[in-house]
Amino acid sequence: MIRTPLRPLARILSARDKGENPDHIERENIRLRAEDTRARAQSRAEGRLLLLGLAFFAAFIVVGGRMGMMAASEASEPRSAASGVEISGRRADITDRNGRILATNLSTYSLYAQPKQMVDPKHVAGELAKLFPEMKAEDLERRFTDGRSFLWLRKKLSPGQMQAVHDIGDPGLLFGPRDMRLYPNGNLAAHVLGGASFGAEGVHSAEVIGTAGVERALDSRLRDPALASTPLALSIDLTVQAAMTEVLDGGMRMMNAVGAAGVLMDVHTGEVIAMVSLPDFDPNDRPSPLLKGDPADSPLFNRAVQGVYELGSTFKIFAASQAMDLGLVNANTMVDANAPMRWGKFKIGEFEGHNYGPLLSVTDVIVKSSNVGTAHIALKIGGERQQAFFKSLGLLDPVPIELTEAPGAAPLIPKRWADIVTITTSYGHGMSDSPMHLAAAYAAIANGGVMLPPTLLKRDKIPQGTRVLSAATAKIAASMLRQVVTRGTASFGEVEGYEVGGKTGTADKVKRGGGYDKGKNINTFASMFPASDPQYVLVVTLDEASDNSSTKPRRTAGWTAVPVAAEVIRRTAPLLGLRPQIEIPDVSAVSARKQ
């Protein structure tokens, strides 16, 4: 650029000639120069702004265009990205503790119709009615022709049925893929698994949601896409469960019972190895719940968890072990057992009006199952401490197990804990618990006094648990329970080699309206084996059982639940890998025989 001088000589000279001030020319030039600079800066700034505006415009166009394209185009999986962990929309499988399948999925198809595309509705309706007995030709024809454009026909089809529908050959009949929940073992562990049904349904897929049991309680875990390929391992052992179901079913028939329940628990981990409730159902075809009457009559009712009953004398060991733990008594302390005992307006008697008194050792109170003796022990403990002990054994709260039914099955406890309640609950009357509660509490005695929350899931890490009894007391309590079998009310419970220890419990059923039903019993046998080093706890409950093999029906647990439980132990203990122990006979017994 050529710079014009501020004081051009020619103009200065001519101005001087005219007598003007040459400084004006200089100022004029300075002004012009400044204006020029400003104009250039302005145009440059404008250019930059324009460029920036264009850049923003382009960026917005790109973003907007991409958004539009994404919104308008069909979604597709990224094809080039490597797939790492398998992500699946399927429901995770459920297996037993050894990986045997308890619940899995099967691909099947649902059938729906688009009547607007149907060629010959009358013919289609007739053919479908021939294929599926639950459909009626007239109904179908009416629904095909009433102007609707869509209707579901069937939720699940077998491959054979699907082919038959294909063969009808009408373009208005269409299939939608479905995942079907399958329980290959049928009735086995039905109450544990519960069942599943379809949730929100679409043409391309349908949600499978759990309706009861573990399926519902752990629904979100089973539906989590990230965990779909990892099966959920339960603590149940399929083989043991099958053996226990078979024995309980036989026992229930033999003892003329209306129902049976059994819980087998590993005392060191709190895992439930088998849980049976009879009668049971097929989770593949879950019956609908009863609309009226007692829900306990339905096969859906889980007696092991939902069935809260007065469990009778099985509770006596809690009073005895608490009193020993508190140092109030020891195993040989003599307590008052003079029956009948009077407390205010109540009379506490023994089974069939016996009197085991006047004095019995604590061990014999358990062995002979003395109500009066237990009552006196409980009075020594006092209501408050007794309640606290029951609470620590989980007997006052719903059992924390992974079943939807569990939180709803709260124990029935008296509102006010008067002395008479202390007395009656010490021998298992006046409060109701489920067999699962009892199993968990017995497991605490069996494992040396540590209460573990029971679980249906396979445990890798055993939780800390809370100590409720000292190990020494727990050992004495276990030996008392062993004596109940060797010389007490549960003599049928002896299984050679397995040192069964346990306590019987016979309680009259509570009538609907109040009072007790004398002819209807709940018979329970809560046991642990082997008693010298307990590994497993087994609780067997028979509902309204009676042994009619002799002239008079025998309704006590010793005659009904105990032999059934013994058979369960005989069958399941070898399956659990327990070696029978060689029992050294009592020396005194040998010498007595020699005389």
């Binding site: 080039s80 045997r100 399948i101 899995t104 290959p184 397995y498």
Partner: protein, 120 residues
């Protein structure tokens, strides 16, 4: 010099274009293969789970129990009992392998078994 450079750059452009064209189709083919493989994996997984379900169904305890009852004559299977547990020292030691005389040469064997002198 200049025309030579022009021709060279044009040739380079064409070579690059050819290369890009080939790469494009190779990529598309690779993607197609990958998606086919994924489909195949999904199908195999599906049939695997189907077969697992079938296996579980065929091995359900109630069916096995019925089969055991049906084939009791030939198999004689009974539930496991406590008495079937044993100690290791109750298991007999395997017998030493039998050493039979070599029967490949019959003449020789006959002579040895008789205990007499070979007549030949």
């Amino acid at each position: 010099m200049r025309p030579f450079l022009f021709i060279l750059s044009a040739l380079a452009l064409m070579a690059l274009a050819f290369w890009a064209y080939r790469e494009n189709y190779a990529t598309q083919q690779a993607l197609k293969d990958a998606s086919n493989l994924n489909q195949e994996i999904a199908d195999l997984r599906e049939s695997l789970s189907q077969q697992r379900a079938e296996w579980a169904y065929l091995n359900r305890p109630s069916r096995l129990r019925d089969l055991v009852a049906l084939n009791f004559d030939s198999l004689g299977l009974l539930p496991l009992e406590p008495t079937q547990f044993g100690n290791v020292d109750q298991v007999a030691h395997p017998l030493p392998p039998l050493s039979l005389p070599d029967l490949s040469n019959t003449m020789d064997t006959a002579a040895t078994l008789d205990g007499k002198e070979d007549p030949l």
